[in-house]
């Protein structure tokens, strides 16, 4: 049994002229959760989005050991300081394995994003191998103006094997209250999990959650936007839980036409992409396509029918 706790924090670096930068103020690995500051790679839509107003720090998480194995207790704390930006990636997929005594392995992730800060968290695939017993619990707190992109993918069992017991809860809170709270349950303890209401036997599932209270640079809020049409000067979270959703703020037809994928607006400034696929390559393609649609700068594609402004 392994207990590891890692902590990562960033802050906005004092800058004279030029673009503000992000400084890594804490980088404490806790075996087997190893954190490494890494150099920027080729830009992707996500890294461009993350660095919109501040140069983003790049950190990768690497596993120092196999697993998690049953019985492991792992904890990752991420604190993104006001006005800073962080892209947190992962080196390799995670293979969840059973432990010697059948105990549950746990990964607790606590994320705090301060005002006007940005976090893109891009963990690699999680594979729930046969007989594993694992719970991941992700809690995110977003302060005013904070931006978030949270990606997750799971494969239910390696090739030719049934899925182990897998639970993953993700909860995101903003200054307006809870935005998103879902727990995916798979494996022998979850009735009907592979049936036609939950995954229909798809081997891979994933989501991307995007919260972005600021309109993209150069975007005219509401212009040609069927979602926000007629409401200039939109405020973040205009549709508060408990109040009627705005007409038209229902679906993204482009993504809705994609099989096994839905793009769901959670509030005027946040959206969820949810996808199921027979394999991880198809899953990644479905998620990436929807995310590119979400993140594309408005002025690059003026003919697009449903700019989302997220």
């Amino acid at each position: 049994m392994t207990q590891g706790s890692a902590r990562l924090a960033t802050e906005r670096a004092a800058s004279g002229a030029g673009r503000p930068r992000t400084r890594i103020s804490a980088l404490r690995s806790g075996w087997p959760l190893m954190l490494r500051a890494t150099a920027a790679l080729a830009p992707t839509p996500v890294t461009v989005w993350a660095a919109r107003s501040t140069e983003a720090a790049r950190v990768h998480l690497a596993a120092g050991a196999a697993g998690p194995l049953g019985g492991d207790r792992l904890r990752l704390e991420v604190h993104v300081g006001g006005g800073s930006a962080l892209v947190l990636g992962e080196i390799a997929p995670t293979l969840l394995l059973p432990g010697p005594h059948g105990a549950e392995s746990r990964l607790d992730v606590r994320i705090h994003v301060e005002p006007d800060a940005t976090l893109a968290w891009l963990p690699e695939l999680v594979i729930a191998s046969r007989h594993c017993r694992h719970a991941t619990d992700v809690r995110v707190v977003l302060e005013s103006g904070a931006r978030l992109l949270l990606h997750e993918e799971v494969l239910f069992g390696r090739h030719g094997e049934p899925s182990g017991r897998y639970r993953q809860r993700i909860r995101v809170e903003t200054v307006h209250g809870p935005l998103y709270d879902q727990e995916l349950n798979a494996g022998p303890d979850a009735p009907g999990w592979d049936g036609p209401a939950v995954t229909a036997g798809h081997r891979a599932a994933g989501t991307v959650l995007v919260v972005d209270p600021l309109p993209a640079a150069g975007q005219d809020p509401g212009a040609g936007d069927t979602e926000g049409g007629g409401q200039p000067g939109r405020e973040p979270h205009r549709t508060r839980p408990g109040h009627a959703p705005r007409p038209g703020s229902r679906t993204c037809p482009t993504a809705a036409r994609e099989p096994g994928t839905a793009l769901m607006r959670l509030s005027p400034d946040s959206a969820l992409v949810s996808a199921l696929a027979p394999d991880t390559t198809t899953l990644r393609r479905r998620l990436d396509r929807a995310v590119a649609h979400l993140l594309r700068p408005h002025d690059q594609d003026p003919a697009a029918p449903e700019p989302l402004g997220v």
Binding site: R169, R171, G177, P178, L179, Y180, D181, Q182, E183, L184, N185, A190, P191, G192, W193, D194, G195, P196, A197, V198, T199, A200, H202, A205, T207, P241, G242, H243, A244, P245, S249, R250, T251, P253, A256, R257, G260, T261, A262, L263, M264, R265, L266, L272, S274, A275, L276
Partner: protein
């Protein structure tokens, strides 16, 4: 045998009325995602229907049960005349966070409004007025169900049981209409599900009082969300959701 007549029995008639599909709250217009599942070829017979209902009960059914039970308890707390609307509004917000699909959010609020309207006519009560005032856009269906259950003298376990009953009988009835399945075979499926529904109602009841709203169950059903969003774009459909 006459039994022990001095022990008060749990109210039964009110629960049967509330859970009855003929209760005029508009539930018959919704298939709970089954219409889309049938169109996608995912539900074709009683075997696939049973798998669908099992998954639906354990996910959206369990969530609805947890929130109906908690709302029932909240409606019974506070002062004698008014419900604890702060807790009720918090439950509504938490339920929304557990319902990412806009089409399902809209359907739930519509059903909640319809249930509240029906109940205020059938059995007016201060708790119902308080709920309508606290959530002017309409409560989510489980929050309305729990509050209405309280005003009918029911407890959180009954509210959870009604929510779970609704979660499976709606799609089961729709399956008979959409697939022409044998009603006896469909009810055999429902009978097999009964122990699981009771287990889920027990779990919801156990968290109805002491559990903070944010810690209530949040089981996800990705395919129901995806089905709902696709279904909402159809031009012709038999069911509203």
């Amino acid at each position: 045998m006459s039994g022990n007549r001095s022990a008060p029995a749990a109210p039964t008639a009110a629960l049967l009325m509330l859970a009855d599909g003929r209760f005029p709250a508009g539930g018959h217009a919704h298939s709970g995602g089954l219409e889309a599942a049938v169109a996608a070829g995912r539900v074709v017979d009683t075997t696939t229907l049973e798998a669908f209902l099992r998954g639906r009960a354990a996910t959206s059914g369990a969530t609805a049960a947890a929130f109906a039970a908690a709302a029932c308890t909240a409606a019974g707390s506070g002062s004698a005349k008014t419900a604890d609307t702060g807790r009720t509004a918090e439950l509504d917000t938490e339920y929304e966070a557990r319902t990412p699909a806009p089409a399902l959010r809209a359907a739930s609020r519509k059903l909640g409004r319809q249930l509240l309207r029906a109940a205020r006519t059938i059995r007016p009560a201060p708790a119902l007025d308080a709920l309508a005032a606290a959530l002017p856009a309409g409560p989510h269906q489980p929050v309305a169900l729990g509050t209405v259950a309280h005003t009918l003298g029911l407890g959180p376990h009954a509210a959870a049981a009604a929510a779970l009953h609704d979660a499976v009988t709606g799609p089961a009835t729709a399956a008979v209409r959409l697939l022409g399945l044998d009603p006896f075979a469909v009810h055999a499926v429902l009978a097999r599900l009964a122990p699981e529904l009771d287990r889920l109602a027990d779990a919801a009841d156990a968290h109805a009082a002491g559990t903070p709203a944010h810690a209530l169950a949040a089981p996800a059903a990705p395919l129901l969300d995806i089905f709902a969003e696709h279904h909402a774009t159809w031009e012709v459909r038999l069911f509203a959701s």
